[in-house]
Amino acid sequence: MASSDALLPISAREEDPLLSDGSRSDPNAETHGRRRPVKGLLAVTFGLFFIAFYVALIATHDGSRSNDVKFESDGTATTASRARLAGVSEKSNDQLWKLSGDRNTVAFSWNNSMLSWQRTGFHFQPGQNWMNDPNGPLFYKGWYHFFYQYNPNAAVWGDIVWGHAVSKDLIHWVHLPLAMVADQWYDANGVWTGSATFLEDGSIVMLYTGSTDKSVQVQNLAYPEDLNDPLLLKWVKFSGNPVLVPPPGILPKDFRDPTTAWKTSAGKWRITIGSKINRTGISLVYDTTDFKTYEKLDTLLHKVPNTGMWECVDFYPVSKTLVKGLDTSVNGPDVKHIVKASMDDTRIDHYAIGTYFDSNGTWIPDDPTIDVGISTSLRYDYGKFYASKTFYDQNKGRRILWGWIGESDSESADVQKGWSSLQGIPRTVVLDTKTGKNLVQWPVDEVKSLRLSSKKFDMEVGPGSFVNIDVGSAAQLDIEAEFEIKKESLDKILGDASAAAEAEEFSCQKSGGSTVRGALGPFGFSVLAHESLSEQTPVYFYVAKGKDSKLKTFFCTDSSRSSFANDVVKPVYGSSVPVLEGEKLTMRILVDHSIVEAFGQGGRTCTTSRVYPTKAIYGAAKLFLFNNAIDATITASFNVWQMNSAFIHPYSEEAVRALSRT
């Protein structure tokens, strides 16, 4: 494997998975041929280089194992059924089969030190056990309420009930007793996902899906037992439940996750519920005046063929002109409507921007080529992010997005560590008023209250450099950065007619990750990095030239070398990100132990990743700035904050009192 060939000149677009630390000692070596000094001296020098290089290879190879094994993203698909397996849950038997054939694998076991480090410092998670979808988020009498799918008995899905927590600021939470449990025939097999609606008198109704004792999916009504209790501790289920059962033509297991209701111009309340007919994903529409009896509209809100079951549908208005949230009932000429659905087939959340027609409860997308659920349609997040739900925060006039961030590790590890899943940091959502074609998300401002010490940096980084950024502890960080590629480097690429266009072919997922060097990238930060770089998680921009000679920018997170562990999923995530004339490249990264949330161009492209380092943990987790471009020099101007923990408390009256005073 090690050979003197490695010292020969290499071509401009190169791939060297073995040098996984990305460092190149001397870029000039590539452009000049070997010189010919005295032969004897050359032989000795060569011999020394050979030995040193071989040693370096051994040192880095251990960490780069996953880069050496190249997988097809869809295994060995040969039949139609295999094609349906493709692009699904990234946990794939196919990938691991190939890994277990690789006899360079060092046997690996999780120990409690590694596992307990994975718990986050400031992301919402219960004290233990399994969590999934966010439910019924709302703001009431001074408290933000969060409910969630919860298994009180195990760190895997099952026995689902509604967990409950409250906060003054969406960051510092106190857990409350379970809000609803599976104590009725109509939710005996699960108290599933639902949404809250505020009525005109300020009271609250909750609609949620119950999986009945016969596993039929029905919709149920619940409301607070005592509206004078700001904590909304107790909930009452309507005696006439279920209020909706699967209608004719809809299968009993294709009817779940009712939305928040909105007011129609006729003065009724309207909700939508995702479903499917054969392989067409649909959203059913119901009108009601009292949330107890409903009329189903003949029309669907929308449907898209070949997208499968639509879970967790969300439907809400966004302002075309103002950077603020809108109540779910707002409508008018200055408003577009978002239809979002979670695709059961692929575990991906998609949304589209379009126009709502209140007269018949239908919606059409602005751009049917990227309609909801089509693989190329827009996503809130290009990483691990599912079953998301928004709510209108009337306290601060924002629309806020919650997203379920599941694990990417094995269930034996989840059982061993005693918990599974996180929620993303809540994000504000608005229409991008500059492009008009996508939403923009950003962590709620309140997360800044966790910022402790900060360090500011301004540096110029040459091609092929890794720079250690000394910030002390690096497992809980908030990073905001601005990058610029130096003009000379850009001009050179744009002016070079022979430089191949690559933007059309490039994708974060399939282009080999951050060790693959291009003319104008990748560059960014490597987080949760061991000082040896044997484990690291690069978050980066990759700028590519297109056939039209315009530049296209991609924003990726490469988890392929995040961990030595061979029982975790380690994709490269990300997407292209719109960069407008005159804009610098900006990114924000929230690092919190086993979760990395990355936001490109102010939240135009967001990517959440779960990573499970085995060595780059505790004091050994470091932060690097890197520029792995071949020629280009970049300037980086950035702030790094240490983040405090949110200290989410188990339920106690003292904890509630302490939070009330904040």
């Binding site: 038997n93 089969w97 076991s109």
Partner: protein, 145 residues
């Protein structure tokens, strides 16, 4: 009746394995897709249990492999106690969680196998079988999505 089995197995990555697994269970002739999935989950449980037995025996015959055997013990216990249980409850109501559990079973088996030095695993045939059965089961569960 056998038609459903045949039709279903044709949509899996290993038609003949699928047929032999399902036809060996009399319930398959009158089962719907959920029923067929549950039959296969039963096979996963049985194979997992058998493998745990082999692991136990290997402690005595190959004591130098204690460490990877310990890891395999943990992984296969997860398959039998956790993955199988989750798959059974999820397959009826929310099959994507059953899919996750079945995929995980394959992962656990592969990781266990990968822990042995080359050529020294006493259970290679069993882990390979587990992966194949999981692939077939997963394909059937995906039909429920």
């Amino acid at each position: 009746m056998g038609d459903i089995v045949d039709k279903t197995c044709k949509q899996t990555p290993d038609y003949s394995l699928c047929l032999s697994l399902l036809r060996s269970d009399p319930r398959s002739s009158s089962a719907d897709t959920v029923g067929l999935g549950l039959i296969l989950v039963d096979k996963i449980k049985a194979l997992g249990t058998e493998t745990l037995g082999q692991i136990n025996m290997a402690y005595k015959t190959k004591p130098m492999l204690k460490k990877p055997l310990d890891e395999c013990n943990l992984r296969y216990k997860t398959i039998v106690d956790v993955d199988v249980h989750t798959a059974i409850i999820a397959i009826r109501g929310n099959p994507k969680f059953a899919e996750g559990a079945i995929v995980d079973a394959g992962v656990e088996a592969s990781v266990c196998e990968g822990g042995f030095p080359k050529g020294q695993s006493p259970i290679t045939g069993l882990t390979q079988k587990m992966n194949k059965i999981c692939d077939v089961t997963r394909a059937i569960v995906r039909m429920l999505l």
